[in-house]
């Protein structure tokens, strides 16, 4: 009954998504491609768009944190006013100026969630006992929850990642059993919407987020209270903090005032098919979306960890040959579990091999996507160089590499790119940490001697025109937020120019070895 054909708003409804910082361009592209969205705009961590898609399609969004039906977006509150009372009036006007916009948004919301009566296998009678059981088992004090929830929201001073809102939401989600968090949760929302026969009987809860100057003047709690009271007066609804029909989400900052209805109880970023997430699923999907995966490709993640990137890719692009590799037993076993839980164990092969020694012929892999581990374990310089060299070797000409690089790794690579030092040079000159070695003219001469000999042999001329890591040409990069730290999604393509070099093995010290 999950795959019913849902109600679609004929003229298109207006939505917005929250997105992790840096992922907005990916999300804008995704809503256009997946939902044929129009009027797509991005303002400070939110992407607004109009679409006729139904719930099934909306649920497939992969680079968004959460999805909301838009009630209202307007200019920011004028908090330079002297009196707090005047600002409260402005807030009330969010509700009272145009009650119709609230009612029509709610009507769209109800229609979206309403089950197709013919195909609905889950009767209302069945759903309600489940709901009642949950309430009986719930021992959380609603007052405590409200305070904690509000505290968490107040603590966010700047426009941050959705993580905090998600945490607040997840608190509420904790009421539900794991089973409900999946498909049943979606149907539960639907049942609640239908169960409220007319709008006067709606119960609601307001979630507030304030940042910028607004946050300095008001607490999220105060704002929530003002709006809540205005709603009760305007529409006659009742507040219910534990299990309301309707959730109202308000975000007030220096750039806009936005009001919306969360469409799904569980954030889109929290995937039903991923048992244990390593990398954030939205970023994993964004990386895969950059890799230009086509049917029949051979896609490798040579440092796959728990396999998050491969899971996201395999779900979206199934007719592809996926291989994951890692050196850690515990990670690989976790990845195995993940594959099984997602039903993807036939689609993704796992190997315990090292990224710097891949048992693959040269130029046999179409696409490499990987999250380069951060942290002290991975020294800057030499390790990155070896990793990239081996990736370059196994990659087909014209193939794509998408990497997630820490700020440190990225800075290091940029400095060496600028210095024009190719990474495949012989010797340890680029192994030392620090930028100076790269740019030292003395060192450069040594290196250019080494490199130009191979360059001459291959018929190439100018050293400066040579791509930084042999034949890997940077295509583009995107800075994304990982919560407390930032990182770069970097895309490279293997150009044909140095293919001859690699194939002839000129870049590798010749180690003749033999097997008894």
């Amino acid at each position: 009954s999950y795959y019913y054909s849902g109600w679609r708003p004929a003229a298109g409804a207006r939505f917005f998504c929250t997105a992790g910082r840096g992922l907005e361009p990916f999300l804008m592209r995704e809503v256009r491609a997946r939902l044929a969205a129009t009027q797509v705009e991005y303002i400070s961590g939110k992407v607004f768009f109009t679409t006729c898609s139904d719930l099934n399609m909306l649920k497939k969004l992969k680079s968004a944190e959460r999805l909301f039906l838009l009630i209202k977006k307007q200019f920011p509150l004028n908090v330079s006013s002297v009196s707090k009372g005047k600002i409260f009036n402005e807030m009330q006007r969010l509700v009272n100026d145009d009650p119709e916009s609230w009612l029509s948004a709610i009507s769209i919301w109800k229609n979206l969630l309403e089950l197709d009566a013919k195909e609905d296998k889950l009767s209302q009678r069945d759903a309600n006992p489940l709901k009642r059981k949950v309430e009986e088992n719930d021992i959380i004090n609603p007052k405590k929850l409200k305070t904690k929830q509000m505290q968490e929201l107040q603590e966010s001073r700047e426009c941050q990642l959705e993580k905090q809102t998600d945490e607040a939401t997840v608190e509420q989600g904790d009421f539900l059993t794991n089973r409900e968090k999946s498909q049943e949760a979606f149907q539960n929302d639907a049942v609640k919407a239908v169960a409220a026969p007319n709008q006067k009987d709606l119960t609601f809860r307001v979630s507030c987020r304030c940042s910028g100057f607004v946050a300095k003047t008001f607490t999220a709690q105060e704002v929530g209270r003002v709006i809540g009271i205005a709603l009760m007066k305007q529409f006659g609804w009742k507040a219910d903090l534990r299990n309301p029909n309707l959730e109202i989400f308000i975000h007030l900052n220096d750039i806009y005032s936005v009001v919306g209805i969360p469409v799904f109880r569980v954030p889109l970023a929290s995937r039903a098919y991923i048992k244990t997430a390593g990398l954030r699923s939205t970023i994993a999907w964004a990386m895969a979306s950059l890799a230009e995966i086509k049917a029949g490709a051979f896609v490798l993640d040579p440092m796959c960890g728990l396999g998050t990137i491969l899971l996201e890719a395999a779900k979206e692009w199934p007719d592809v040959y996926y291989v994951g590799a890692d050196v850690s037993d515990s990670q690989l076993l976790g990845a195995c579990d993940n594959l099984k839980a997602a039903g993807l164990q036939d689609k993704i092969e796992l190997l315990k091999v090292s990224v710097i020694e891949l048992p693959l012929p040269s130029e046999s892999v179409d696409i490499i996507i990987s999250d380069i581990p951060f942290g002290k374990k991975f020294k800057l310089g030499k390790d990155i160089k070896n990793i990239l060299q081996e990736m370059e070797r196994v990659l087909c000409v014209g193939g794509t590499i998408v990497l997630l690089l820490s700020e440190d790794h990225h800075r290091r690579l940029q400095d060496c790119e600028r210095g024009g030092i190719p990474w495949n040079s012989k010797g340890s000159h680029t192994d030392e940490p620090g930028i100076e070695k790269c740019l030292n003219p003395g060192e450069k001469t040594d290196l250019s001697d080494t490199v130009s000999s191979s360059a001459e042999t291959s018929g190439q001329g100018d050293l400066d025109k040579m791509p930084p890591f042999g034949s890997l040409v940077p295509v583009d990069r995107y800075r994304v937020s990982l919560g407390r730290t930032g990182a770069f999604i970097c895309r490279y393509r293997k150009s044909p120019s140095s293919a001859a070099n690699v194939a002839a093995g000129l870049r590798f010290p010749v180690e003749f070895c033999f097997i008894p």
């Binding site: 049917a295 029949g296 051979f298 007719d319 040959y321 291989v323 037993d329 690989l332 076993l333 195995c336 579990d337 099984k340 164990q345 036939d346 092969e349 796992l350 190997l351 315990k352 091999v353 090292s354 020694e357 891949l358 048992p359 693959l360 012929p361 040269s362 130029e363 046999s364 070797r393 690699v502 194939a503 093995g505 590798f508 010290p509 010749v510 180690e511 003749f512 070895c513 033999f514 097997i515």
Partner: protein, 148 residues
């Protein structure tokens, strides 16, 4: 691992050409794992197959009904595609995870680690008996190797 994976792997030996050496299967532990037939996907994998290595592996594992090479118009030949589907994707050798432990860079060795897919299918299953595949140059068929 799937035979397709085994086929795509090779021991890359530096300085000795780009293709490296295919990994000869010594173990005979074989399982058949049913996989939904997707003709388009199989057809796309055919160009990637290293046929000599595949036939040798199939021989070692005593598989029957293995096509000897791509036939003309294979993209639309369901019988051919089904046979290749079975060989490449349903035949599994050894445990699902294989390790390439380089105790010497010059001697890649593929050995098994505890398999999470024992018969019962529960995670963290029994410790598999280590099976060792050594890489040998595909061309050489010396008497020394025959004994292995």
């Amino acid at each position: 691992m799937k035979l397709l994976t085994h086929n795509l792997l090779s021991s890359h030996v530096r300085g000795v050409g780009p293709r490296g050496f295919p990994l000869r299967l010594q173990a005979t532990e074989v399982r058949i794992n049913p996989v939904e037939f997707n003709p388009d996907f199989v057809a796309r994998m055919i160009p990637k197959v290293e046929w000599a290595a595949l036939l040798e592996a199939a021989d070692t594992l005593h598989l029957v009904e293995v096509p000897k090479g791509p036939i003309e118009g294979y993209e639309h030949d369901e019988k051919f595609l089904r046979q290749m589907h079975h060989v490449l994707l349903e035949v599994r050798t050894g445990p699902s995870l294989a390790s390439l432990a380089g105790h010497s860079r010059r001697l890649p060795v593929l050995s098994s680690i505890p398999s999470p897919f024992p018969a019962g299918g529960c995670a963290g299953g029994h410790l598999a008996v280590p099976r060792v595949w050594t890489s040998v140059p595909h061309q050489s068929r010396d008497p020394q190797h025959v004994a292995e």
